[in-house]
Symmetry: C2
């Protein structure tokens, strides 16, 4: 299990996401936390290839702090996007964008992609997970009430599945923790590959 593989490793999480921090703590993993900023600009061609886009951002976040760190540190970076009808939805820039995003997702099934990028002993490893999420049909009142909670503003696709947003999710198909921003089973597989070879 993860806490056994990682107990003697210096770990740096290149993320300030409260969800990722909470999940690593839940797994009893000790880590340092470092802010790492990537250029998250979405170019026209990125909308054709969401996997490539999240991988690029996660890899950039990883690289950006790798130089300052000891090579024996294990650096973890991640990026999460919502993808719907050939369009990448990042964090909404304002409440109008949040309203637009939630109207797009209402009554439909969209995809959530998270890439995890790990740097360890000068090697880099990446993995991407995809989960389908089906929303109930939302009324405009529900969308406005939801925006009023403040929850949508710092989240890809303008919702959090682990908060008030949970009420709107009819079903998911795939890994739940991927939708929260950190696909735990995929991470476990990758750590096993790195340490068991």
């Amino acid at each position: 299990m993860l806490h056994n593989y990682l107990k003697n490793i210096s770990i740096v999480l290149a993320s300030q996401s409260p969800r990722r921090i909470e999940l690593l703590k839940m797994l009893d993993i000790k880590f340092l936390q470092k802010k790492s900023v990537a250029d998250e600009t979405i170019h026209a061609e990125d909308h054709q290839n969401p996997r490539q886009y999240v991988c690029r951002i996660a890899s950039e976040k990883c690289k950006n702090i790798a130089d300052e760190m000891d090579r024996d540190c294990l650096i973890i970076a991640a990026d999460t996007i919502v993808y719907h009808e050939q369009q990448i939805l990042g964090k909404p820039i304002n409440e109008t964008a949040a309203l637009d995003y939630l109207s797009l997702l209402s009554g439909k099934t969209h995809a959530v992609y998270t890439a995890i990028c790990i740097r360890y002993k000068a090697m880099q490893y990446s993995v991407v997970e995809r989960t389908s999420v089906t929303f109930k049909k939302l009324t405009e009142q529900e969308i406005r009430d939801y925006i009023a909670t403040g929850e949508p503003m710092d989240k890809a696709g303008a919702y959090g599945i682990q908060g008030y947003g949970s009420q709107f999710v009819k079903k998911i198909n795939g890994c739940y923790f991927n939708v929260m921003g950190f696909p735990i089973h995929k991470f476990y597989q990758l750590i096993e590959k790195i340490f068991k070879g």
Copy 2:
């Protein structure tokens, strides 16, 4: 949304499950908590009808405290089981049972059922949700390491999806919160039905 429907209602949660308490708090629902014990004996015929079984237990938990409560209280009770190969798996009675349950679930897809039962103004309402959960193939070492964490012992099917157990879950199909013990979207639908009619 739930916190709007429920803000002026006296709510009693007939459960001591830390997961259910956490989820209701996450949804900003104020409630009193009451222990309610039902006879959870699983009879031979229950294995043929898991929906009926969880409904019966949730309904009993609800009924057991309804008499002491004001009729304007909204009482919420729930029960969760794991169901695999025509067998209901409740909480393991000891570590050997936990090992047996986890060996059964290893590498397979099982079902999780939760029933919610609500009593409000002398009316009773019930709803059942079903989610499929697919486990990775577990080694005996993983099972033993997992049991050593203590997590399996108080949980239906001997695992918690919101803890160390998250590492073993390749995917789910349905509502995640149902696997945690409280299907939020179904609860929201039911509350809407009760208050909007």
